[in-house]
């Protein structure tokens, strides 16, 4: 169906064929420039490179400034998460989920907990569900802030990055108050959440929402509609809707190509069914406003808009949250009945799938993680050929990969 980039062959020297006559000038001198032979240059972008957002290696072949081929090499951050899952107890695995997509650890906790709960079939208290939703959406904002800020960095704009970190700092302070950790939370547990929100926490979340809405406009004016930024990202790295579906892209990558699909709305889990039916939020889509449908600008636009939609969801949850228990009746040493389940949730980067299989024991038989970055990064090999070197950086940035997740 779709052709694959063949692995780069060793570069062959291409000699330009020039007729013998042209090689000698009328004066009798040999024409100097004509017997220059050119060959493609192979460059390792990564594993240590500012544009790869971690330790991904992309072997690119370039002809001058034009990239003629790219090959993705993963595995520099492989930490055997799936094998560990088969060797530790169900609850002990939870901190490991924080580590694969370290920018949205809450969502990872949530995905794993939902998968285990799907096998166990436990009831989650209402307050826990809403706290989970608030945390997951706050974390989505934080993750998109990083995606957007570092994308500005890729394009060469430094300042939005710092503005994004300013807001993210507050978000992390909020999480620190609720669970004591700033990056690897392990807050959402199997059966509910770890503990109740401290007094006044929900008020502070509301204040965060108020301030964020103001600041969001700053990002939008400063970078998203900046003329140079638009010139650098529009019509670059176009992913057609067919291609997006074929490559199994999910999340903002899919919606950037104009496909209206959001797991929260179309395959609801937790309280999202209610939220979607109440019409609380919209699903932003790429429309090819500045260039072509599915270009880098569309993907960035979708992420930026999603931050505002998350704010709406948080506000809705804050409006209807009531006191109550925050964790179901879960034993200390968890025994999961034999069975298996696959649960996919909407991570900031796409569908985060957890496939867990149990044989009734204290440890999992299989603990599979389907990381959205792992699937999204596959499309790079298709997008890179034919772009400029600077565009390849823009394209890699627009896929918003987290290497912790591609390698797990």
């Amino acid at each position: 169906m779709t052709e694959i980039n063949t692995p780069p062959e060793p570069p062959e020297a291409k000699t330009i064929e020039i007729p013998e006559k042209a090689r000698t000038l009328p004066s009798g001198e040999r024409e100097f420039m004509l017997d220059v032979s050119t060959s493609d240059l192979e460059v390792n972008m990564g594993p240590q490179h500012p544009a790869t957002h971690g330790v991904m290696r992309i072997l690119i072949r370039t002809d001058g400034e034009v990239v003629t081929g790219g090959q993705v090499h993963l595995g520099y951050l492989h930490r055997c998460a799936e094998k560990i899952g088969e060797n530790v107890e169900w609850l002990q695995y939870l901190p490991y989920t924080d580590r694969y997509d370290y920018l949205s650890a809450m969502n990872n906790n949530l995905g794993y907990s939902l998968a285990v709960e799907a096998v166990m079939g436990v009831e989650i208290p209402r307050r826990a569900t809403l706290l989970r939703t608030i945390c997951a959406e706050l974390n989505r904002i934080g993750s998109h802030l990083i995606a957007f800020g570092t994308y500005g960095l890729d394009i060469g704009a430094f300042t939005p990055f710092f503005y994004c970190f300013r807001e993210r700092e507050w978000m992390m302070a909020l999480f620190e108050k609720i669970c004591g950790a700033r990056l690897t939370y392990s807050y959402i547990r199997i059966g509910g959440v770890f503990n109740d929100a401290p007094v006044g926490w929900l008020k502070e979340v509301e204040r965060f929402c108020d301030v964020f809405e103001e600041k969001w406009q700053e990002y939008y004016d400063l970078l998203v509609v900046n003329h140079i930024f638009v010139q650098r990202t529009a019509k670059i790295g176009v992913i057609t809707p067919e291609m997006a579906v074929d490559y199994g892209l999910t999340g903002p990558m899919l919606r950037g190509s104009g496909i209206d699909f959001d797991l929260r709305r179309d395959m609801p889990y937790m309280a999202y069914d209610e939220i979607s039916k109440a019409g609380v939020y919209d699903v932003p889509l790429g429309r090819g406003e500045k260039g072509e449908l599915g270009d880098c600008w569309d993907r960035v636009y979708v992420r930026v808009q999603e931050m505002m939609e998350s704010i709406k969801i948080i506000r809705w949850c804050l409006g209807c949250i009531e006191d109550g228990p925050v964790i179901g009746d879960i034993p200390k040493v968890l025994k999961v009945p034999p069975g298996e389940a696959y649960v996919g949730i909407e991570n900031p980067r796409g569908e985060l799938g957890h496939y867990v299989a149990s044989d009734g024991g204290k440890v999992a038989k299989r603990c599979r993680v389907r990381g959205p970055s792992f699937c999204n990064v596959a499309v790079l090999e298709k997008l890179l050929p034919g772009t400029f070197l600077a565009d390849s950086v823009a394209i890699i940035g627009s896929t918003d990969v987290v290497i912790g997740e591609t390698d797990r």
């Binding site: 799936e82 096998v119 395959m267 298996e340 696959y342 996919g344 599979r368 389907r370």
Partner: protein, 173 residues
């Protein structure tokens, strides 16, 4: 949005290639202590050799339209078990339903035709699956290791995998 039973009826109606049976969660027998039943989600069992044709059939059928291959992985259920499970998870964007698929791949001859022709998404997943379990996906366009080093020995996610004592002079103990 369809539930599992409707999807399974449709699969039978279109005679999806390689379709074997459905496996639904069930209650355990209270009398029999060894039978604990099965929890979780329902899935269909298919022939591994026909996996690609199956995926194409359910992708192109308008009522099912499973156009996204969400996940492709394998499971080694037990050291004594004779089969690997090949787990596929499909997602339909238009209808918003999922399908879990399982195929039994014999450990003695773990060869499955590549599913890249049906879904490009299968490419990276197959490479990962191949190195982790030693299942060969025939026809994968770039069958190198993806997460492990090229010279890694053994298939780590097999239950009988023995952890290496050292790697290139680096002690692993």
């Amino acid at each position: 949005m369809k539930d599992f039973d409707e999807i399974y009826q449709r699969l039978e109606a279109i005679k999806a290639p390689g379709l074997l049976s459905a496996d639904r969660p069930r209650e355990g027998d209270p009398e029999d202590k060894t039978d604990k039943g099965r929890a979780g989600e329902a899935f269909v069992l298919i022939e591994p050799a026909a996996a690609k044709e199956f995926l194409i059939a359910v992708r192109d059928d308008a009522e099912l339209a499973f156009d996204i291959l969400a996940d492709l992985t394998a499971t080694d259920p037990d050291t004594e078990d004779e089969n690997f499970w090949l787990n596929l998870h499909l997602l339909s964007l238009g209808h918003g339903h999922r399908l879990a698929i399982k195929a039994m791949v014999p450990k003695a001859d773990p060869v499955v035709p590549s599913m890249v022709d049906a879904h490009m998404a299968a490419h990276f997943h197959e490479r990962e699956c191949a190195e982790m379990f030693g299942i060969t996906f025939e026809g994968n366009p770039d069958p190198r290791n993806i997460l492990l080093p090229d010279d890694w020995e053994g298939h780590p996610l097999r239950k009988d995998y023995e952890f290496p004592k050292e790697y290139h002079g680096i002690s692993c103990e």
